[in-house]
C-alpha cells in the first residue's frame, strides 16, 4: 500500500536534474547523456529537447515568471534557453566555472542565476548583463548544491566537504555595479574582476554535523529551517536565527546516500530520495518516517517539488516519475442545495445559494493524520455522514452531524462508529453497505453498526456505489453491475473499464458512471446506456437541471448529452471537482477543497438538447437570444438530419440553397437561386421542384435557363395550352424550326406544323400532314408551291384522315401544384414569418421541460399563495380578544394509557384512539370537531361564543371532520387504517398531539378579500353570502398565537361591518324598488351605510351612492357633507371635481328637503336588525360572537345577522390554546 500516486512516468537515460514549471504542467529533466527534456506531464508528451551540452547535465531550473530555462553541465557551461515553442533556442551561455556544474537556479526577483560547481565555488550571474557578479568561495570540496532563499538575501549550499553553508548576499543587491533592470541593457558592468566580489557576500553560518559529503541543502519556504541530505544516509534539519544556526534533528532511515531532501510546499512533511532506491516521506515536526516508496532497480538521483502544488518529481537511473503524496480529490457529497465536503479533515457544508460555508464535524482522529478521507456519503434522513479513508488498510466511520453548529465543532471520535472496509456508502436511510476488498464481502449494516446482511458480490468488486433503492452498483475491473440487495441478484451489467465515480441525476433517472477515460450514461435500470470516450483523464461530473451531464477532465469542462453527444464548455488551468451545475454556474471544489464557481455559457448544449427533445420553443428562444450559433451548429444540425432547422441560421446563400434543397424548402431555394443565378442552380432546383410536383417553380427555372424544350414539354404535361401557344410564338420569333415543330405538335396545331415543315422545305411531309389531316386545300397549295399536281403524287399511298390528337385536358393542372413532399410549414417557418425571430412578439419560454403534470397542483397552490395577499389592512382596531380565556378550564387530561406490561396476543385490548387525545388536549371547538366529538364542540362554542343555532354549521363541521382523517391499507385486504392528520406532526407524544387546522385563518382572510371584491363589483347579494360564510367559518379556526387571535378578531369585526353595511344597502335597494315613496327611509339607509367601518375604496362607493341619493332628494346639506367626507379619502381627480360641485351646491342652497333620522354629530351604532341608529348612551345589546349591536329589546332573540347566536347571551370568548 502506498499513498504515492504516480501521475506520470518516463523511460530515459539517467535523470540528474529536475525542475517544474510554476504554472504550466511542464517538467524539465536534465539527463546524464547530455540531453535536457521538457515534458508535459499532464498530457504525457515530450514537448521539447535541448541538446547542446556536451556530457551529462546535472543542473536545471525554470524561471519563476518568464519562459526561461537554465541548465548547467559537465562541460562547465551554463546555458539559458528560451522555452517558448515558437522560438526555442539557447539564448546565451555563461562561461567561467572550471569544473562540472552541479546545480543552477534563478533568483525569484533579481535577474540572477546561481550555480554550484565542482570547482569548489558558487557563482552568481547577472542574466541580463550575462556577467558573473559574485563568486562565493569557502567550500573545500565539490559544491553539490546552491540555492537562493525564497525571500531573503541568503544562499544555502551543500558540499562534499561535509558542511552546509549559509551565505549572506545582501551586499550584492545593494552594491552590485551590475544591478540593472532588464531594460538597462547590462552595459554598466565593468570588466569582471573577482577580487571585488567578496565585498558583497560572506559566509554567515557553517553548519557542521554530517559525517560525509552533503548532496543537497534547501531552505524552508516560510520557516527559518534548512534541510540537508548527505552521503552519511542522514537528513538533517537545521534552524536559523538572526545570529546563529544549529542542528535540530536528523531523520534516519535511508540505507544509502541520500540524494535530495525537500520540504512539502503545503504540509509539514519532508520528502527525500536516495541511492537506496527509495523515496521517503517524513513528518517534519516528529521527524518520523511516514511512507517509503521503493523501486526495484533504480537509484534515485534527484527530487523536485512543485512550487505550489502537491506534486513531486524524482529522477532515477532509467527515467523519472511525477507523483503526488495524497489524493487531492476532496471527499464530498451533494444533497439538494447543500454540498457536504471535507477540507483539512473537517466535514463542512456549503450552501450553493447563499455561499454559507461552515465546519460541522472534525474527523482529525480518523485514520492516518497525513491522509485525507477518500469518500463521503451523506444521509439526509439521519443527517449523518459515512466517511472512508484509505489508511490502515481502509477504514470507514459513520458519524452524525450536529443539527446546529455553535462553538467548537465536535470530533467524530466522540460518537462515531468505525470499522474496516475499502468502500462504504449509505444504501437507505438506515442502512449502509461496506465493501471489504480482500475478502470480497459486502456487509449491509444498520446505523448501530451491526451487520444485518452479508453479500457475496457476483464479480470481483473494487468499489461500491449507491444504485438506487435497495440496489448497489458494483465496480469490477471489466464491468459495472447493478445489484439488488434484497434479492441478492444481478439486475444488469454493463461492460466498462473500472468505474471510479458515479453521479446520479437530480431525479434519479440517469446515472453517469465515470472511469479513467470513459463515461457511461445509463438509465436507472441499466437497460439503456451510452458511452463517451475521452483521451484526457476524467476527473468529476455533475448533472445540470436539464438532464445534461457536465464533466471535468484534467483540462476541460465538457458536456455530454444522454444520447452520447459531447462537447467542450471551457478549458481549465487546474483540475476541479464539479459538485453542482445550476443554470450558468458550475459549482466545484478545487484541489485544496475550496468551493469555487465557474460561469459558463450553456447555450450550445441547451440547444442540442432542445433539438433532441423537439422543443422548438426553447430552440427559438436560444436562437433569438444568443449569438453562439456558428458554423459548427449548422454542421451539427445538418449531420443530425435537421437541415430545415439549420436553414434558419445560415446567412451564406450557397449554403442556404444547398440546405433548402436538402430539406425541400422550395421557397427558400427559389429565393437563394435568384441571388445566385447560376445555370446549375436552376437546374438542380428544377429537378427538386419536379420531384415535389411544384411545376410553377420548375417553369420558372426553365424560363431562367431558357430551356425551351423542357418548358414546352412541361406545358404539355400540365395541359397549359395557352402557354404552349406562347411558346409557339417564341419559337417563331427565335426561328428555331425544331422548337416550332415541337410546340405545334404539343399544341395539336396542325397548320402550324405544316407551316414549319414547309418553311424548312420538307414539302412532302408537309403535304402528307395536310392530306392526312383533311386539309386538302392546303395540301393542294403545297403541291402547287412545289410545282406538282395531284397526279404527280399518285403513287403515294392514301391515308385515312388521322384521328390522332393530343390528349384532351381533363383536369387543368396549370393553376394547381401537386401536393408537395412536405408542407414545410414547421414551427420555425411560422416563427420566421411572424417575425418572432427578430424579437417581435414574445414566445412563451419554459426552461427545460415544462413542469410534469404531477407537479401542477403544487405549482398552482404556490401561484395562489402569491395571489392572496392582504389588500388593505382594516384600520379599525376592534375590541380586544379576551386572550387568556378567563374562566374556561379543561379537565386535566388523565395520563395516557397506563404503562402496562401486557403480553402480546389475543387478549390485547383497544387503546385510546388519537381522537380521544385530541379532545383531551384542546379547549378549542374546532379541535373537537376534527375529533368528531360534535357534542363537546357545540358545548364549547355555546360557552365561548354563545352559539345556539348550529344547524347552519353542519357542512362546516363535516368538512373539517373529514379533512382531519385519512385512510391507508398497507396490508392487502385488511380494512384500511384510519390515520389522523396532526397540525403538529413533529409531536408524537399522545399528550400533545392536535388535529390539523383544516381551515386556516389565512384562507378565510383571502375569502374575505373576495367578499370585498364582490362589494366593489356591486354583487352585493353574493358579498352578503360570502361575509356570512366567512363568519361561520371563523368560528372554527385554529389560533396559534396572540397575534393570530388579534387578527382573528379583526377579521370577525371586518366581516361583521361589511355584512351589516351590505345588508343595509340591500335593504335600501329593496325599498327603492318596492316602496318608491319611502324616500325618507331610502335616505336614512344610504346615510347609515356610510357609517359602517369600510375600507376607503368601499367607503368611497358608499359615500358617492349617498351623495347621489341625497342630491336627488334635494338634501343638499347632507349631500355636501358626504362630499366633504369623500374628499378626505382623496379619490380620483374626476370624483374630486364632482364632490367639489356638490359642496358648492350645498353652499349655494344650504337646505334639506326631507327630514330624516340622521344625526351625524352624535356617534352612533347601527342596530343590525332594524338598521336604525343607536346613539351613544342609549341602551343596546350585543351579539356574543360578532359583537354586532342591537336594540336592547332584542335580547334573547336569534341574531338575524349571522343566524347563530342568542343576542345578549353571556360568552367567555375564545380560550388561548397556544
Amino acid at each position: 500500500m502506498s499513498v504515492m500516486l504516480t501521475k506520470f512516468e518516463s523511460k530515459s537515460n539517467r535523470v540528474k536534474g529536475l525542475a517544474f514549471h510554476p504554472t504550466q504542467p511542464l517538467l524539465a529533466a536534465a539527463l546524464h547523456n547530455g540531453s535536457v527534456q521538457l515534458w508535459n506531464y499532464r498530457m504525457g508528451v515530450l514537448v521539447d529537447r535541448f541538446e547542446e551540452h556536451e556530457g551529462p547535465v546535472r543542473g536545471v531550473a525554470i524561471h519563476p515568471s518568464r519562459a526561461l530555462l537554465v541548465t548547467g553541465g559537465d562541460d562547465y557551461k551554463i546555458k539559458v534557453w528560451d522555452i517558448r515553442p515558437q522560438n526555442r533556442r539557447c539564448l546565451f551561455t555563461l562561461h567561467g566555472h572550471l569544473d562540472y556544474l552541479r546545480t543552477v537556479q534563478f533568483h525569484h526577483e533579481m535577474p540572477w542565476i546561481i550555480s554550484a560547481s565542482d570547482d569548489q565555488t558558487i557563482r552568481i550571474w547577472n542574466s541580463t548583463s550575462r556577467q558573473c557578479i559574485a563568486i562565493l568561495t569557502g567550500h573545500s570540496h565539490y559544491v553539490m548544491s546552491a540555492q537562493f532563499h525564497p525571500k531573503d538575501d541568503l544562499v544555502v549550499s551543500a558540499s562534499m566537504d561535509q558542511t552546509v553553508r549559509v551565505w549572506d548576499i545582501s551586499g550584492l543587491r545593494k552594491g552590485s555595479p551590475n544591478q540593472s533592470g532588464p531594460s538597462g541593457g547590462g552595459s554598466a558592468a565593468g570588466p569582471g574582476n573577482f577580487e571585488t566580489y567578496d565585498n558583497f557576500s560572506s559566509v554567515k553560518y557553517v553548519l557542521e554535523g554530517h559525517d560525509r559529503g552533503v548532496n543537497y541543502a534547501t531552505f524552508h519556504p516560510t520557516l527559518p529551517l534548512i534541510i540537508s541530505a548527505a552521503d552519511d544516509r542522514v537528513i538533517k534539519i537545521w534552524r536559523m536565527s538572526e545570529t546563529k544556526a544549529w542542528e535540530v534533528d536528523s531523520c534516519r532511515g535511508h540505507f544509502n546516500n541520500v540524494s535530495t531532501a525537500v520540504f512539502h510546499p503545503k504540509h509539514e512533511l519532508i520528502v527525500s530520495c536516495g541511492e537506496d532506491k527509495t523515496v521517503r516521506v517524513w513528518d517534519l515536526t516528529k521527524r518520523t518516517a511516514i511512507q517509503t516508496f521503493r523501486r526495484e532497480q533504480d537509484r534515485f538521483w534527484v527530487l523536485a517539488s512543485h512550487p505550489n502544488l502537491n506534486l513531486f518529481a524524482a529522477g532515477h537511473d532509467s527515467g523519472l516519475i511525477v507523483f503526488k503524496l495524497e489524493r487531492e480529490r476532496p471527499a464530498f457529497s451533494v444533497h439538494q442545495n447543500t454540498l457536504y465536503y471535507i477540507r483539512d479533515k473537517y466535514v463542512r457544508s456549503y450552501d450553493f445559494d447563499s455561499g454559507a460555508d461552515v465546519g460541522l464535524l472534525s474527523v482529525r482522529k480518523f485514520g492516518s493524520p497525513y491522509i485525507p478521507p477518500r469518500t463521503l456519503s451523506f444521509n439526509p434522513a439521519e443527517k449523518s455522514t459515512l466517511i472512508t479513508i484509505s489508511s490502515d488498510n481502509g477504514l470507514y466511520e459513520i458519524a452524525g452531524l450536529p443539527q446546529q453548529v455553535q462553538g467548537e465543532v465536535k470530533d467524530s471520535s466522540v460518537d462515531g462508529k468505525r470499522g474496516n472496509g475499502q468502500s462504504a456508502i449509505f444504501v437507505a436511510r438506515n442502512r449502509f453497505a461496506v465493501l471489504n476488498k480482500t475478502t470480497q464481502i459486502i456487509e449491509v449494516r444498520d446505523l448501530s453498526n451491526s451487520v444485518v446482511k452479508t453479500i457475496k458480490p457476483p464479480v470481483q468488486t473494487n468499489e461500491i456505489f449507491y444504485g438506487g433503492t435497495a440496489s448497489l452498483i458494483l465496480s469490477s475491473p471489466t464491468s459495472v453491475v447493478l445489484y439488488d440487495i434484497q434479492q441478492q441478484k444481478v439486475i444488469a451489467e454493463i461492460n466498462s473499464p473500472p468505474v471510479k465515480y458515479i453521479v446520479w441525476s437530480g431525479d434519479g433517472a440517469l446515472v453517469a458512471l465515470m472511469s479513467k477515460h470513459t463515461i457511461t450514461v445509463a438509465n436507472k435500470t441499466f437497460s439503456q446506456h451510452s458511452l463517451v470516450h475521452e483521451t484526457i483523464r476524467i476527473k468529476s461530473g455533475a448533472w445540470d437541471d436539464a438532464g445534461v451531464f457536465i464533466y471535468s477532465t484534467l483540462n476541460h469542462v465538457k458536456y455530454c448529452l444522454a444520447q452520447g453527444d459531447h462537447g467542450v464548455i471551457c478549458t481549465l488551468d487546474n483540475p476541479v471537482y464539479l459538485t453542482r451545475v445550476k443554470g450558468k454556474t458550475i459549482h466545484c471544489l478545487d484541489r485544496s477543497a475550496r468551493p469555487r464557481t465557474i460561469t459558463f455559457d450553456p447555450t450550445e448544449y441547451r440547444f442540442k438538447l432542445a433539438l433532441l427533445r423537439n422543443n422548438y420553443e426553447e430552440m427559438l428562444y436560444i436562437i433569438k437570444t444568443s449569438n453562439l450559433l456558428g458554423q459548427s451548429i449548422i454542421a451539427y444540425l445538418q449531420q443530425k438530419g435537421f437541415p430545415e432547422i439549420a436553414l434558419h441560421f445560415v446567412q451564406d446563400t450557397n449554403t442556404r440553397f444547398e440546405l433548402a434543397l436538402e430539406c425541400g424548402n422550395l421557397d427558400v431555394a427559389m429565393e437563394t437561386a435568384k441571388t445566385i443565378d447560376r445555370v446549375d442552380c436552376w437546374n438542380r432546383l428544377a429537378q427538386q421542384a419536379l420531384k415535389q410536383g411544384n411545376h410553377k417553380i420548375v417553369e420558372k427555372c426553365y424560363q431562367q435557363t431558357k430551356n425551351f424544350d423542357k418548358l414546352s414539354f412541361l406545358y404539355l404535361a400540365t395541359g397549359s395550352t395557352e402557354k404552349l401557344s406562347k411558346m409557339q410564338k417564341i419559337a417563331n420569333a427565335r426561328g428555331d424550326p425544331m422548337s416550332r415543330f415541337h410546340n405545334a405538335l404539343y399544341a395539336g396545331d396542325v397548320e402550324a406544323r405544316i407551316a414549319v415543315l414547309r418553311d424548312v422545305g420538307l414539302h412532302p411531309l408537309a403535304y402528307l400532314t395536310a392530306k392526312t389531316n383533311g386539309l386538302n386545300d392546303l395540301a393542294l397549295e403545297i403541291l402547287e408551291a412545289a410545282g406538282l399536281s395531284e397526279a404527280d403524287v399518285d403513287d403515294v399511298p392514301k391515308f385515312p384522315v388521322s384521328s390522332l390528337k393530343p390528349p384532351p385536358i381533363i383536369t387543368t393542372t396549370t393553376p394547381l401544384n401537386w401536393p408537395s413532399v412536405q408542407a414545410g410549414e414547421n414551427f420555425f417557418d411560422r416563427a420566421l414569418v411572424n417575425g418572432v425571430l427578430e424579437g417581435g412578439t414574445e414566445a412563451s419560454y419554459g426552461n427545460g421541460d415544462a413542469g410534469a403534470a404531477g407537479a401542477s397542483s403544487a405549482l398552482d397552490a404556490w401561484a395562489r399563495d402569491e395571489e392572496v395577499h392582504e389588500e388593505i389592512d382594516p384600520e379599525e382596531g376592534g375590541w380586544e380578544l379576551d386572550a387568556d380565556g378567563g374562566d374556561f378550564e379543561t379537565e386535566q387530561a388523565p395520563d395516557a394509557a397506563p404503562a402496562e406490561d401486557e403480553e402480546l396476543g389475543a387478549g390485547a385490548t383497544p387503546g385510546a384512539s388519537e381522537v380521544e387525545h385530541w379532545v383531551r388536549n384542546s379547549p378549542l371547538a374546532v379541535d373537537h370537531v376534527a375529533a368528531g366529538s360534535f357534542d363537546t364542540a357545540m358545548q364549547l362554542l355555546n360557552r365561548q361564543l354563545g352559539i345556539t343555532n348550529f344547524a347552519a354549521l353542519k357542512p362546516l363541521f363535516l368538512s373539517i371532520y373529514r379533512s382531519s382523517h385519512t385512510y391507508l391499507s398497507p396490508v392487502a385486504s385488511l380494512p384500511p387504517l384510519q390515520l389522523h392528520v396532526r397540525r403538529n406532526p413533529e409531536e408524537s407524544a399522545p399528550s400533545r398531539v392536535l388535529p390539523i387546522a383544516a381551515c386556516p385563518l389565512q384562507s378565510l382572510r383571502s375569502e374575505l378579500t373576495e367578499g370585498y371584491r364582490a362589494v366593489s363589483g356591486n354583487k352585493l347579494a353574493e358579498a352578503q353570502g360570502i361575509f356570512k360564510s366567512v363568519l361561520h367559518a371563523l368560528l372554527l379556526v385554529v389560533l396559534a398565537s396572540d397575534d393570530e387571535a388579534k387578527q382573528w378578531r379583526e377579521t370577525v369585526t371586518a366581516a361583521r361591518e361589511y355584512l351589516v353595511g351590505v345588508s343595509i344597502e340591500l335593504e335600501r335597494r329593496r325599498i327603492v324598488e318596492q316602496e318608491p315613496d319611502n324616500v325618507r327611509r331610502n335616505l336614512e339607509l344610504a346615510a347609515y351605510f356610510t357609517h359602517c367601518q369600510l375600507q376607503p375604496p368601499h367607503m368611497q362607493i358608499a359615500l358617492r351612492s349617498a351623495i347621489g341619493v341625497f342630491a336627488k332628494a334635494n338634501n343638499n346639506v347632507h349631500a355636501a357633507k358626504f362630499a366633504r367626507r369623500l374628499l378626505d379619502l382623496k379619490p380620483d381627480p374626476k370624483i374630486v371635481a364632482q364632490a367639489r360641485q356638490r359642496i358648492a351646491a350645498g353652499d349655494r342652497n344650504p337646505t334639506n328637503a326631507i327630514d330624516i333620522a340622521y344625526d351625524d354629530f352624535t356617534p352612533f351604532e347601527i342596530c343590525a336588525a332594524t338598521y336604525t341608529p343607536i346613539y351613544k348612551g342609549s341602551p343596546s345589546v350585543h351579539c356574543p360572537y360578532t359583537n354586532a349591536t342591537f336594540l336592547s329589546e332584542f335580547k334573547g332573540k336569534l341574531d338575524p345577522l349571522v343566524g347563530l347566536t342568542e343576542i345578549g347571551a353571556p360568552a367567555s370568548g375564545l380560550p388561548a390554546a397556544w
Binding site: 438506487g468 433503492t469 403534470a853 391499507s969 396490508v971 392487502a972 332584542f1194
Partner: protein, 310 residues
Amino acid sequence: MDSSELYHVKQQFVLGAYTSLVKSPLPDPNSPDYHLALLYQARAYIALNDTTSALNLIPDGTDNVALKAAASLAQYIAAKDDTSGEAALEELRDLAVEIEGDDVQGTERDKELVRVLAGTAFARAGEIEEALESLGTETEDLEAVAVIVQIYLSINRPDLAKKEFDRAKRWAEDDLLLQLIESSIGLVTGKDNYSNTLSFYTEQIGNPSLTSPHLLTARGVTRILRNEIPEARSDLEESLGQQPQDAESLAAFTVAAGLGAGKRSEAADAWSKFETEHPSHPLVIDVTNKAALFDEAVTKFTVPPAIGAH
C-alpha cells in the same frame, strides 16, 4: 431463497402493485414457483375486490389448504349477506383447525398462509380477538406479523405493534415487508415527523424493479400527515393519473383538497363525487355516521326565537 421471479411477485404484492401483479403472466404450471405465484395473484385479485377473478383462478376442488383458504376469503369478501359471509368464516375456522393436524395438503408456508388469510378475514369481520388468536403469538411468518401489527394499530395499540415488530426484527432478515411494517407503525405514531415512513415510500417509489401507484398514494397520505399538502396533492394526482378510480387515492385526495389552499367549494365537489362513487368506503361511512351524530347533538340546544316572531 425464492427465485427472482417469485421474489418479484412477492415484492409487487407487498408494495401494493396488485394491478400489475394480476396482469403479469403466471409461471409454467410445472415450475416450483407456480403454486405460490398463483396464490399471490389470487390474493392480489382479492385485494382489488375482484373476487370473481380470484375464485376463477383457484382450481376447483383443490386440496391445498392455502388455496382453500384464499377461496374462502374471497367468498367472505364477496358475500352479500351475513349468512354466506358467516359460512365463509366458518370454512376458515375449520381450515385453521385443520392445519394443526398432521395429514394436511400443503407446506408449512401454506399453513402459515392459512393463518394469515383467516386472520385477515376475522379482522375484517371485526373479530379482533379471534384474528389475533389464529395468527398466534409466536409466529415467524412476516406476513402474519404484518397482519398482527395492523390489527394492533387499528385498535390504537401502537405500543403492542412496536413490540411485535421488535420481536420480528430479531429473526426476520432485513426484509422489505419488515420495513413496510415499520413504516406502518410510523404512520400511526408519527414518530420523528413521519420521516421513516416518508423515506420508506420515497425509496420504494425510486425502486427500479416495480412501479405501483399505491406507493404514490401512500406517500401522498404520509405527506398529508406531515402537513405537506401541495406535495401530497401532487403525489395523489400522479397516482390517480394511473388509477383514476382507486378509492384509497380518491379518499386521500378529498382530504388533501379539504386541507389545501384551494377553495372550499372545490373540496366539497371532490367530496360529493367521492361520496357517490364509493359509498362503502370507511371514510364515507364514518362521515355519514358523524352527520347523524351532528343532527342528534343539535337538538340539545334550543334555538332562540327570531326577531319579528313575537
